[in-house]
Every structure is written in structure tokens, then in C-alpha cells.
């Protein structure tokens, strides 16, 4: 490793890094603004200036920018030199010429990188006597607040939004000291990743609008490590709470999963936690069919009685949930018995998820982490619009297609961190991305080829590609041969498919392609990135994979879907439904029939939903941010979330309700479990595949320096005021006996394992930029390694038989169209639409038609179309998707209005003459501004 000398101290540095990274790695405090570990250097802010000397005799030196200076063995630098220090001070003085002194009313205050850097360089007195420039702010939608006067023109926002995340509607405008960062006109930011602007902006230009509604400073937030439940990717989050309300969600760095960034659904989709639809108390149905709130104890006694009364084990059944924790699902399974446990997947998704779980378990191929996906040099996507079904993966794929640019940079001897230079060199040359899908996807702009095919044809295409790779037979068409050639030429090809088309044949086609490739590719170890042929499946919900493992592995019937449950309703008298709205999984008639046939329906959930209309007893569950739990993401990584705050009212974590019920019912085995860790251990012990579950995070006995990890910052100055309106006596903090975290500001928050890191703070670094102090190296894993535990690793030599029998393609005949689901980041997920901002962005449900069909049917965007089939007559707003596959009609999946639509079924379409156009865009803003 090269050795450089900084102020007389020799520092070992990573070859090929820049001086700024090297100094930060060495623990030195160097101020910076425009550099970002994920986005590299451009040299615009000039804040990281250091003095470089030509040799020992050079006493004067020359100012260079740390972020733009490659380290070379023997190079000499100084941070302390007066000229450099003065220059860094001058930069902050310059930035402060126009920056308003509004810190007390700025949402960034207390976690502002500009504040930190100002203090760090020691700037105090301003000499500028002129007026400050002012700008007009823009309405940017319900998520992001814009305050342009605070801008220090570091260009991070546009570099993130455009270059990193592929957005187009935020740009740098005007020039000199009038440079403006905003949209071409006011309106909702169109990127699915706009929320990261809040964390990317080093000051208060882009702030979290949802936080501003009930603002709290960072130092007053109580936080805990959490996992996002808005999809199956499992991004790590740091939600913050005060006054019993969830205030905001920040990214929690995970080197292998989410890195520095979240999607907007993950960041803003937890609004339901504070929402009106939350259940606070247990409710029992009365004779007049109304619900009456009952005490926690009475509810437990009643339910315990029902369970113990179940005359045979067969008369008790449970429906689990892919959005509930492993522990809760496990307890339900044990309580009702494996034979009576139904995972709660819909009939359509059950075989798909089961097959994906089977493939993942077989461990024949690398099921890559997001970090590993970023190393892919050729990507084939079968049937997924990843941006809407596994958003963080889409952001990673946008980086993966840049591998071509990085190769070109290597050839031109540029460093990867020379961001502008690498982008200028490569221009629009990208690594190949091939998308085969039923309709337009948000990655089409970086794809080199897109194919629009009906679901069954997607599977056929995939099989043709696999055959062409293996050379088994003549490929069906030239397209498949071309795709095969691209994938074969790659070193680290990545195949992505998933459950969203609800089509097993597509899942198998992806497997076939990946297996065919695995015979071809060499597989290279490159640094910390192991690469070979990679296969990744997106799954619908946070614990879909975990639930599938619980339901389908080891004990239990293989055919335990909701339809089979429907067939045995006669024998069941008590049905326990865990965190599952059955109306999202079954048709309304089936659902009514199922719940009507059962004498006692017990529902444990957090939000009110239609299933409860037929429930006998409802138990209020704690949300993900009020409970501990383990989730298994689509990568097969077990991760743990912890309560950020104690559940209010009579809410309890589902696992705790179930454990208490088991005890009340006198369940032998389960009554020996007392703590969360006991349940996790029992779950892990139940199946060798789940053995790693206990290693997802340290157990509740973990201590550092004899103390638990504090959830509060040690500047939580307002904590004594929280209840001052009730009592001036400070109440005792709640005791957390289940986790290694404590509801306190006392204790060290420094070296805890990544899985227990609730927030980032370091002396002098109050903003999220303090993260670098906790990374083992800049942009590397956190000290102590990445959180969570991968349950499956690739096993050499293992082969899984692939099923190759895709159904024949379907063409529309006589105005019969095949329904295909179209997913939306905002709207398709059950819980997040409970956030008013997400609901606003989701807009109305739609039926999607191709441009050709739209012309044929004489409709345009916003018109009404009537969908008809047996038992179906529904009118929806039209959305034109230019490349919707022939013979298909799309519908907004997961929207309440479209729950009745069955993917793959046939409908007829007619223009709805009586349709009233709605203009949600105009209602969205009270400013009367039309958005796009």
C-alpha cells in the first residue's frame, strides 16, 4: 500500500484512492461538500483543499483539492499549513455570503453539514457587506420541501438526481451566483428516489416535507435500527420518534443492501403508523354486530379459551402473513399446528413464491446482494418493472450499467472517482441491459433492448435464450440468440425475474437462463465482490421468502394455499388471521364465504381493514417500528428490526400477542418461551435452513461497556419536557427487556455492531455525513461487518432441475384481452398507501392500454374504460403505456379498486361513455399548479 505523509505523519493509503478519502480513512477531519462516497469527486466546492509539497525542501507548497488529487507513494501534504487552513476558511466565508442565517427555523439545523463544516474551518466574522441573493422556492410535491436561498451550489442534488438516480426533472439552471437547482416549472418530482435529496443536500435546501408537519430536531429523536417493510429488498432504515409519533425515516447504511439510499415508498411510506386507521384497543364483536373495546387481559382470556377449546387440532387454523415477522408467523404455525397453518399467499402468488423459495434454497446460483448486482456487466430482466417492485434494486442496476464506463475509464487510466471525467468519456455507452416485460418499465431509458411480450411469451423467450446459451437447439428467434450472445460474453451476468407477473414459467425461464450461463461463465473474485452468474428474484413483501420457508419447508402440507383452506372451512371453528387482509388475497365472494363459514375469526393487525368486518375478535398489533422481529429479504438475508418506541395504547407486537395467547391457552411447548430471543431461537431450531436467524443480530444480552445501546442521542435535551404538560416529574424510562437497546440517552453509541446502530453521530459531525466515521473504510462496510445474516450461500456443483413447460402464448381474440398487473411504487403496496402523501402520489387506479389499443378504442389518458368478464364489470381510468405487449391489458396492481382483477384472465374492453374525468393532479396542490 502506498504511504503518504500528512503533517509529518505517515499514512498507509489505498492505491487508486484520492487524498480526501485517504485522510478520512485515516480518521482525519477534512471538510468537504461536493464529494460523496457513492458519487465520487467533481472538484466544485473547493472545500477539501490541502497543501501539497513537492519534496522535503518545499516549504511553501501548493494548494490542491483533496478529492481531485490521487494519492501517490511518498507524496507530502499538510492539513495544518496556514495557507490551506485560510483557504478552507475563505471557502466557507464565500458560501456564507448568500446563505441565510436562518438556522433556528431551518429543518436541517442540528444535522447540517454546512453548520459542521463552518465550525470545523473556524469561520466566524463575515466581511461581505452586500445584500444576500434570494430565490423563489418551488412546489416539488408532497414529499420534498424546497428552500433555495440556503443553497451552497455544491451540485450534489443534480448529480444524485440525474447522474445517479436517472431522474430528468431536476436540473442546475442559470449561472454564476444565481445558479438555481429546481424543476423547469413547479411540480411533483418524478423520481421514485427523490427523498434521498434530503440526505444528499448538505444543507437545508431539500428537506423532508412530512417531517416539517410535526418537526423535531435530530437530537430529540429516538431511533432504533429498523428494516423497511415496503418491499422484499429489506433496506435498513433509521426511523425517528418523538411524542409517540413516528417523525421521519432516514437511511441506515448497509454496505451490501441499501448503501446510502432508500426509495420514496420506504422513506415516506410509514405515515400509516401515525394514521387514523391504526387499531388502539382490542375489540370484541357484540350481539348487535358492533365492536366494543375490551381490556387486553379480557381479550387474551377470551382468545386463549377459544384456542384451548378447539376440540381437535383440525378445528383451529391460522393464516400467516408475508408482511409479519418470522417470529410471529412461527408462533402462529406452532400454535395451530403445521397442518393447519396457511401462509396467506393468494392462490395466484402461492406457486410462484413457493417456486422461488425452492430455487433460492437449492443454492445452485449466487443470489446476489444489491452490492453484488452493481458489479453485473450484463443484465437480463424477465417480466419485472424493478423500479416499482424492488426499487432499490433498480437504483443498483442504474449503477451496474455504468460498468462499461468504468471499464473505459480503466483503459484510459482514469480513476473511478473522477466522476465527471468518467461520464464524459463514456457518454451514453452502457453495459447491456435487456428488459423483457409486458409493458413499459422505468429502466427502459438505460436498457439497450426492450421486448414487449405477454407473460407466457416472456417465459418462452427466456427458455429460448437459455437454449441458445446452452447450444442445445436452434433458438426460436434471432432476438433470443442476440440476447444469449450478450449474456455469454459477460463475466458477471445477472438475471432478474420475480413474482410480479404471477407466472411460474417466467421464474423457471430465469432459472434456465442463469443455469445455462453458469456453465459458461468463469466467475471471478474481484476484491470484496464475488462474481459469477447471478440470479435474483423480486418478491412482493418484506417477509415473503421467510414465510415461504416456514410454510413449505419441513413439516406441513405443501398445498396449503387459501383455496385449499376454503375447501375445509366446515371443519374449522376458530380461524386466526395474522396481519393479513384476506380481501387482498381472495376474491370478495370467496373471502366472505371463508370468514362466514368459520365460527370465530380472530384478527391480529395494525390497520383497520375489510377482513375485520367478519371478525369476532380483533387484537391491535404494533407496527414494524414499534416491535422487534426478523425478516428474510429476497436475497435470503435475515435481518432484525427493533422497536423505535414503545407501542401506545393496548397495541402489542404480534409475536407477543401470540405468545401470550399460547400461554393463556396452556400450549405446552410454547409456554416455555418467554422472550423474543427465545422465539427466534425456537424458530431457528425448527429448520436447518433457518439456523442463521439467531445470527441476524446480537441477542438481548449484548452490552458494550456494561451498558445497552441507547436509542436517544446524548443531546436529547428535550426529553424531560416531553410529558411536562402532564407532570413535571420525569417518569422512569420504559424498560426494554427484549432487545439490546434501551430507551435512554445513557450509554455509549460508538462501536456497536451494525445491526444495533440506531443513528450516526460523531463529535463535530452532527449530520448523516458522520457515517464515514463508522465505516471500516470509506464506502466500505461498517465496523464489525454488515448487518444481518445471509441464510443461503452458493453451493458449488449443486444443480436444480428446471421445469421447462411454459404455457402457449395468448393473443387477444375478439376483443378479449389478457390482464397483466402493472405495479406502482406509490399505490401497489398495502400499508404505505396509509401515508397520506403516498396516497396522494398514487392517484387513481387505472387500466393500461397500448397506444394502438387506445387509438382502436378511441380513448386517451384519463378517459374511462369498462372491463367486463364473468362476475366482473368495472370502469377504470385509462393510462396509455406505449409498449404494452400485444393482446394484454394492464391494471394498477394492488390498488383497492382493482383487487377483483385476476392476472392472466380475459376481459373485454369498451369505452365508458359516462366516465367523469378526474384531475388528481390539480387537487394535489392547493396552489393551482398543474403538474405533469
Amino acid at each position: 500500500m502506498p504511504l503518504i505523509n500528512v503533517d509529518g505523519r505517515d499514512i498507509e493509503v489505498k492505491a487508486g484512492s484520492n487524498l480526501l478519502e485517504a485522510c478520512l480513512n485515516a480518521g482525519l477531519d477534512v471538510p468537504y461538500f461536493c464529494w460523496h462516497p457513492a458519487m465520487g469527486s467533481i472538484g466544485s466546492c473547493r472545500q477539501c483543499a490541502v497543501v501539497q509539497y513537492q519534496g522535503e525542501d518545499d516549504k511553501r507548497g501548493k494548494i490542491v483539492m483533496g478529492c481531485m488529487t490521487p494519492v501517490a507513494d511518498g507524496a507530502r501534504f499538510s492539513l495544518d499549513a496556514e495557507s490551506g487552513a485560510q483557504f478552507r476558511q475563505a471557502i466557507v466565508e464565500s458560501l456564507m455570503l448568500n446563505h441565510p442565517h436562518d438556522c433556528p427555523v431551518c429543518a436541517e439545523g442540528g444535522e447540517c453539514h454546512l453548520q459542521d463544516m463552518t465550525v470545523m474551518v473556524g469561520h466566524r466574522d463575515r466581511r461581505y457587506r452586500g445584500k444576500k441573493n434570494t430565490h423563489r422556492n418551488q412546489y416539488l410535491g408532497p414529499l420534498i420541501h424546497h428552500e433555495m436561498n440556503r443553497c451552497i451550489t455544491c451540485y450534489r442534488c443534480v448529480r444524485y438526481y440525474r447522474d445517479y438516480a436517472g431522474g430528468t426533472d431536476l436540473s442546475a439552471q442559470a449561472s454564476h451566483d444565481h445558479t438555481y437547482f429546481g424543476r423547469h416549472q413547479e411540480g411533483v418530482l418524478q423520481s421514485e428516489f427523490s427523498g434521498n435529496l434530503v440526505e444528499v443536500c448538505p444543507t437545508g435546501v431539500f428537506t423532508d416535507k412530512t417531517l416539517l408537519k410535526h418537526y423535531t430536531r435530530k437530537w430529540d429523536l429516538q431511533s432504533a435500527p429498523s428494516i423497511c417493510t415496503a418491499c422484499a429488498v429489506g433496506c435498513n432504515t433509521a426511523p425517528g420518534e418523538r411524542y409517540g409519533k413516528l417523525k421521519r425515516v432516514h437511511n441506515r447504511y448497509h454496505h451490501d443492501v441499501n448503501g446510502y439510499f432508500l426509495c420514496d415508498r420506504g422513506r415516506f411510506g410509514l405515515g400509516y403508523v401515525n394514521g387514523e386507521r391504526r387499531l388502539n384497543y382490542a375489540g370484541q364483536r357484540q350481539a348487535d354486530q358492533s365492536f366494543a373495546a375490551i381490556a387486553q387481559r379480557s381479550a387474551v382470556d377470551l382468545a386463549g379459551q377459544w384456542i384451548s377449546e378447539a376440540d381437535s387440532s383440525a378445528s383451529l387454523a391460522g393464516i400467516g402473513s408475508p408482511r409479519a415477522s418470522m417470529e410471529a408467523n412461527f408462533l402462529l404455525r406452532e400454535l395451530v399446528g403445521a397442518d393447519n397453518f396457511y401462509p396467506g399467499f393468494s392462490v395466484a402468488e402461492e406457486p410462484v413464491i413457493r417456486r422461488i423459495a425452492q430455487i433460492v434454497q437449492a443454492q445452485t446460483l449466487l443470489n446476489p446482494s444489491i452490492k453484488q448486482m452493481e458489479a453485473a456487466d450484463a443484465i437480463l430482466i424477465l417480466g419485472e418493472d424493478v423500479t416499482h417492485t424492488a426499487p432499490r434494486v433498480a437504483l443498483a442496476l442504474r449503477q451496474a450499467v455504468r460498468n462499461k464506463a468504468l471499464d473505459l475509464a480503466d483503459a484510459a487510466r482514469l480513476f473511478h472517482w473522477q466522476d465527471a471525467a468518467v461520464r464524459n468519456l463514456a457518454q451514453d455507452q452502457r453495459s447491456p441491459l435487456i428488459i423483457v416485460s409486458a409493458s413499459d418499465t422505468r429502466l427502459d431509458d438505460v436498457a439497450n433492448t426492450v421486448y414487449s411480450l405477454a407473460p407466457s411469451a416472456i417465459a418462452q423467450f427466456g427458455q429460448s435464450v437459455a437454449a441458445a446459451i446452452a447450444g442445445n437447439q436452434e433458438p426460436i428467434n434471432d432476438d433470443a440468440a442476440a440476447v444469449a450472445a450478450i449474456l455469454k460474453a459477460a463475466k458477471n451476468p445477472l438475471i432478474i425475474s420475480g413474482s410480479s407477473m404471477l407466472n411460474v414459467a417466467i421464474v423457471d425461464a430465469a432459472l434456465a437462463v442463469a443455469q445455462a450461463l453458469d456453465g459458461e461463465t468463469s466467475g471471478e473474485q474481484q476484491g470484496d465482490q464475488f462474481c459469477s452468474s447471478m440470479l435474483s428474484y423480486t418478491l412482493p413483501e418484506a417477509n415473503s421468502l421467510g414465510l415461504a420457508l416456514l410454510a413449505h419447508s419441513g413439516a406441513g402440507p405443501s398445498n396449503n394455499n387459501l383455496q385449499t383452506l376454503l375447501q375445509r372451512t366446515g371443519s374449522i371453528d376458530t380461524l386466526m388471521v395474522l396481519e393479513n387482509d384476506l380481501h387482498r388475497r381472495l376474491s370478495r365472494s370467496d373471502c366472505t364465504q371463508l370468514l362466514g363459514a368459520v365460527e370465530r375469526v380472530l384478527v391480529i393487525d395494525l390497520l383497520e381493514h375489510d377482513t375485520m368486518e367478519q371478525a369476532s375478535l380483533i387484537l391491535p398489533a404494533a407496527s414494524v417500528v414499534e416491535s422487534e422481529g426478523s425478516l428474510i429479504n429476497s436475497e435470503g438475508r435475515a435481518q432484525r428490526h427493533y422497536p423505535v418506541f414503545e407501542p401506545l395504547h393496548d397495541r402489542q407486537a404480534s409475536w407477543r400477542w401470540l405468545l401470550v395467547l399460547a400461554t393463556a391457552a396452556g400450549h405446552g411447548q410454547l409456554s416455555s418461551l418467554h422472550h423474543f430471543d427465545d422465539v427466534t431461537a425456537a424458530c431457528a431450531a425448527s429448520d436447518k435452513l433457518l439456523a442463521g436467524l439467531v445470527e441476524a443480530a446480537p441477542d438481548h444480552n449484548f452490552r458494550q461497556q456494561g451498558q445497552k445501546v441507547p436509542r436517544q442521542t446524548h443531546r436529547n435535551s428535550g426529553r424531560t419536557a416531553v410529558v411536562a404538560d402532564h407532570s413535571v416529574h420525569e417518569p422512569q424510562q420504559p424498560i426494554d427487556s427484549e432487545s439490546p437497546l434501551a430507551y435512554t440517552m445513557e450509554g455509549l453509541s460508538r462501536d456497536e455492531p451494525a445491526a444495533l446502530k440506531p443513528f450516526y453521530w460523531s463529535p463535530g459531525w452532527n449530520s448523516n455525513q458522520s457515517l464515514q466515521k463508522f465505516q471500516a473504510e470509506i464506502d466500505g462496510p461498517l465496523h464489525g461487518g454488515s448487518a444481518g445474516r445471509r441464510l443461503f450461500e452458493q453451493v458449488d456443483g449443486a444443480v436444480l432441475a428446471s421445469v421447462t413447460d411454459p404455457a402457449a402464448g395468448v393473443a387477444a381474440v375478439d376483443n378479449h384481452w389478457q390482464l397483466v398487473p402493472v405495479y406502482r411504487l406509490h399505490g401497489s403496496e398495502e400499508l404505505s398507501v396509509g401515508s397520506e402523501e403516498i396516497a396522494e402520489l398514487a392517484g387513481e387506479a387505472f387500466v393500461a392500454v397500448s397506444a394502438e389499443m387506445a387509438a382502436e378504442l378511441a380513448v386517451v389518458d384519463g378517459d374511462g374504460l369498462q372491463l367486463q368478464a364473468q362476475n366482473l364489470d368495472l370502469s377504470l381510468a385509462v393510462k396509455v403505456l406505449p409498449r404494452l405487449a400485444q393482446g394484454c391489458v394492464g391494471y394498477s396492481a394492488g390498488f383497492t379498486q382493482t383487487l377483483a382483477l385476476q392476472p392472466g384472465s380475459q376481459v373485454t374492453l369498451t369505452k365508458d361513455g359516462s366516465w367523469q374525468r378526474t384531475h388528481p393532479q390539480l387537487i394535489a396542490s392547493d396552489r393551482g399548479v398543474a403538474h405533469e
Binding site: C45, R46, Q47, Q86, A90, L97, R129, D177, L414
Partner: protein
């Protein structure tokens, strides 16, 4: 003296068309090169000639070209040649003259340069206000395309070149070659970090040469008549002739082709006709708004890159801006700083924020609100903004050059502004005296420049 660059531009010039250009040995250099010289031989000839860039930096042209990867060393794809015709340096109007009256000279120079570096695409990136030059260049290019001088297989040599005129949206920073390239790509005109240099990764990431118009106009003559002939034209160390000029309150402001190394006194007193009656020369910027002031003591220096450099300034574009003793130097510097602050691209902090800060201090001094500590602030700003490397490109250091030298030579004027609490020259009324530097698209002396000696 032999006229080279302006041989087709007389005292009352008319635009030269293809016929007229060819009649005066036009495209002779091109015919010679395409039929008898390899690109390497052309490069050798340019290197030998000692030609240095006429845009202001004076970088040796042959050396610049030698960094372009040739043959097998170049990955397959386009290479580009760009003529930098975005002439926006305050007080500079030489390229306009060359383009308006002898467009074919530039085109021939570009074809030869493209041939030398192996470029197959070329652009004239031209200041949008130069609409006359744009029209004449387009006409000339059409003539060439119709006569086998541009397009496929030029003069049967197999060499191919497409030449386009691209009018600029209009920013001073577009004269910086990498900002120019960004602008040509349709991006914000921010300069790029170097390395990589455009010779390796320029337009669309491909090898690119950007040369000033006047530089390129020299090429046909060097190829046609040889490096030794070219070197013999200069009076001192530097080779060739150069467009020189003078603006300010001289009797005959204008632009003239003179040998390299012509004494400044000749330019001011003979060609520009000396100072207007009743005025004394106080100082001058030797080559545009971003060069350090020199004073009457320097009048006998030769206009050579190194000579002017040793005197503490730069030859820049070679067009003098003369300051007389009835004009306020503080106001003149303020006027220039206003221009540069406005033309900052906004990319890096010292330039974007520092120049408006400097403007505020100078404004206060000029308008009688100056404080003694402002002089320290100005000195601080000169070292903070003016040091090359502190900023992303050379704009801000260039902007600081008139200020730092004004502080050196005209310090008593600054002092008097502060001690009197007003401008001793009459303040804002007189500021208009130098508005010709920056106020309008067309600088007024260039209108007179048509009278070329």
C-alpha cells in the same frame, strides 16, 4: 512587412469568396499537404514553425496536437477539431475580422489541422452575435462542399471531413475549451477537470483539438511556405505575425497584423495614433481584460509571449486596452470584475462567490463607501481567488490579474477613493468611459477595425 493573415483583407475589404481566395494562392497549402505530406510531416512542420496558440495562453500548437492518439494508439471512432470562435475577451475583436473577410483561410486551416490529427468532424464554435461571420462561413463551407474541398474524399485524397458552424448560446466561459466542449454537447458550459485533456477525451469522450481561429488561420501558410519562412517573420523569439490592436482613448483604435515582437510603443503611437489630445497613457492591459496592467514604463517592450510574461503580465490576445489619466482605474477594474462575476459559470466556490464579493468591495470603494480594511480584503481575495489551482479553471485567476496589478500600480487611486469618500475622477459619470469593454455584444472599436492598415 509581408501581410500573411490579412493578405486578402485590405483597407476597404470585401469578403473573399472561393474564387478570390484561390486566386491569391488559396488552398495551395491544402493541395500540397494532401498530395505530398503525411499527417506526421504536417505535424512536424507545425512543431518546427514554433506556432503558439493565439487565443491567449500561447501554448505551442504542435505540442498540443502531438498528444492526440494516432493510428493504432487511437480506439476506433471519431476525432474532432474545433475552431474556438467564441471571441468574448473584453477588448478583443481580431477573430471576427479574419472570419468576416477571409472565411476560407480559416476553413483551409481547419482542413489541414483535421488532416494532421486525423479528425473527420470539425466545428466552428462561434459567438452567436457574430452573425455576419456565421453567414459568411456557412457560404464558404457550402462553396467547399460543392467543390470537393470538404466532405467525402477531399480533392481525391481519400481524406474526409465534415465541417459545421455552431453558433454559441453566449457565455464568456464557452471560450474555455472544455466548457466549449460541454456546450457543444448540449450540456451546461462548465469547464471540465483536467486531466483528462481534450486531446484524449474531449467532445463525446473522443480525442479533440480546440484551437483559436487565428491559430488555425496560420496553418495554411506554414504548410505552404514552411516552418523556416514562418519563423523568419517574427522580430524576436516568437514566430510569425499576429493580430494586434488597441482600444481606449487613442486616436485610431483598431486591429492590425504585425510581426511578433513588435514593440508596444509602435502599436500605441504609430498604429493607434497615440493618445487623444490632452490625455496621457496611464497604463494598459496588453491582451484583453484578463491580463495584468503594464504602464508607460513598459512601452518599449516587444510583444512576445515571454517578454510580456517577464514584465509581470501576459500577452493574452495581443489587443491592448489603454487606460488614460482622465479615467478612473478603480472604475475600470470594477467594470471588468462585474463582467467576470457575471460570466462565472457558477461551478466552483471561489469564482462563483468570490468575484461578486470582490465586486461589492470595489463598488463600495468606487462609490465612496470604501473602508481602509477593504484594501486588505482585496489583497486577500487576489491570493484566494487569483492563484491558479485554487479554482476549477482559469477564469477567476484571469479576472484577478487587472485587480492585482491595479493595486500595485494605482494604489494611490484606491487610497484617494477611500480617504476622499468619493471617486476623484467624478465617479459613476466616468464609468461609462470603459463600458465599451463589456457592455454590448459588439465591441465598438471593432467597428473601426475594418480600416486595416
Amino acid at each position: 512587412m509581408e501581410k500573411v493573415l490579412t493578405r486578402n483583407i485590405g483597407e476597404h475589404p470585401v469578403p473573399t469568396d472561393l474564387k478570390a481566395y484561390e486566386a491569391n494562392s488559396g488552398y495551395q497549402g491544402l493541395r500540397k499537404a494532401l498530395s505530398t505530406m503525411s499527417p506526421a510531416e504536417c505535424l512536424q512542420s507545425i512543431s518546427d514553425s514554433g506556432l503558439r496558440g493565439r487565443g491567449g495562453a500561447g501554448f505551442p500548437t504542435g505540442m498540443k496536437w502531438s498528444f492526440v492518439p494516432m493510428g493504432d494508439k487511437c480506439s476506433p471512432g471519431h476525432k474532432y477539431l474545433i475552431a474556438n470562435a467564441d471571441e468574448m475577451e473584453p477588448g478583443t475583436y481580431k477573430d471576427r475580422l479574419l472570419m468576416e473577410y477571409d472565411p476560407h483561410q480559416l476553413i483551409e486551416g481547419m482542413i489541414l489541422s483535421a488532416y494532421t490529427i486525423g479528425a473527420d468532424m470539425a466545428y466552428v464554435f462561434i459567438r452567436g452575435e457574430y452573425h455576419v461571420a456565421i453567414a459568411r462561413l456557412r457560404d464558404a463551407i457550402a462553396e467547399c462542399n460543392n467543390n470537393g474541398l470538404l466532405g467525402d474524399d477531399i480533392l481525391g485524397s481519400g481524406f474526409t471531413l465534415q465541417l459545421h458552424v455552431h453558433p454559441s448560446g453566449g457565455r464568456y466561459i464557452c471560450g474555455e475549451e472544455t466548457a466549449l466542449i460541454n456546450a457543444l454537447e448540449g450540456k451546461r458550459a462548465n469547464p471540465r477537470a483536467k486531466p483528462p485533456f481534450p486531446q484524449v477525451s474531449g467532445l463525446w469522450g473522443r480525442p479533440t483539438i480546440v484551437n483559436n481561429v487565428e491559430t488555425l488561420c496560420n496553418i495554411p501558410h506554414i504548410i505552404d511556405r514552411g516552418a523556416d519562412w514562418f519563423k523568419s517573420l517574427g522580430l524576436g523569439d516568437d514566430a510569425g505575425t499576429k493580430m494586434f490592436g488597441a482600444s481606449g482613448r487613442v486616436n485610431n483604435p483598431g486591429c492590425w497584423e504585425l510581426p511578433m515582437g513588435t514593440p508596444i510603443r509602435d502599436i500605441v503611437e504609430i498604429h493607434a495614433g497615440g493618445m487623444q489630445p490632452g490625455l496621457q497613457l496611464r497604463g494598459f492591459l496588453p491582451g484583453g481584460g484578463s491580463t495584468d496592467f503594464l504602464t508607460a514604463d513598459h512601452l518599449d517592450l516587444a510583444m512576445d509571449y515571454d517578454v510580456i510574461g517577464k514584465a509581470g503580465s501576459r500577452m493574452g490576445t495581443g489587443l491592448l486596452v489603454v487606460l488614460d489619466d482622465h479615467t478612473c482605474p478603480v472604475a475600470m477594474v470594477l467594470n471588468l470584475i462585474q463582467f467576470f462575476a457575471h460570466e462565472s459559470c457558477g461551478f466552483c466556490t471561489p469564482c462563483r462567490e468570490g468575484l461578486p464579493w470582490t465586486r461589492q468591495v470595489l463598488e463600495d470603494i468606487e462609490q465612496g463607501r470604501g473602508r481602509w480594511e477593504d484594501l486588505e480584503t482585496l489583497a486577500y481575495q487576489v491570493s484566494y481567488i487569483g492563484a491558479m489551482g485554487n479554482t476549477h479553471c482559469a477564469l477567476a485567476p484571469g479576472a484577478m490579474e487587472p485587480l492585482q496589478s491595479a493595486l500595485k500600480y494605482f494604489r494611490e487611486d484606491f487610497d484617494k477613493h477611500i480617504s476622499d469618500g468619493c471617486c476623484p475622477y467624478g465617479g459613476a459619470n466616468k464609468m461609462a468611459a470603459h463600458s465599451h469593454l463589456t457592455s454590448s455584444g459588439l465591441s465598438s472599436p471593432s467597428a473601426d477595425a475594418e480600416g486595416v492598415q
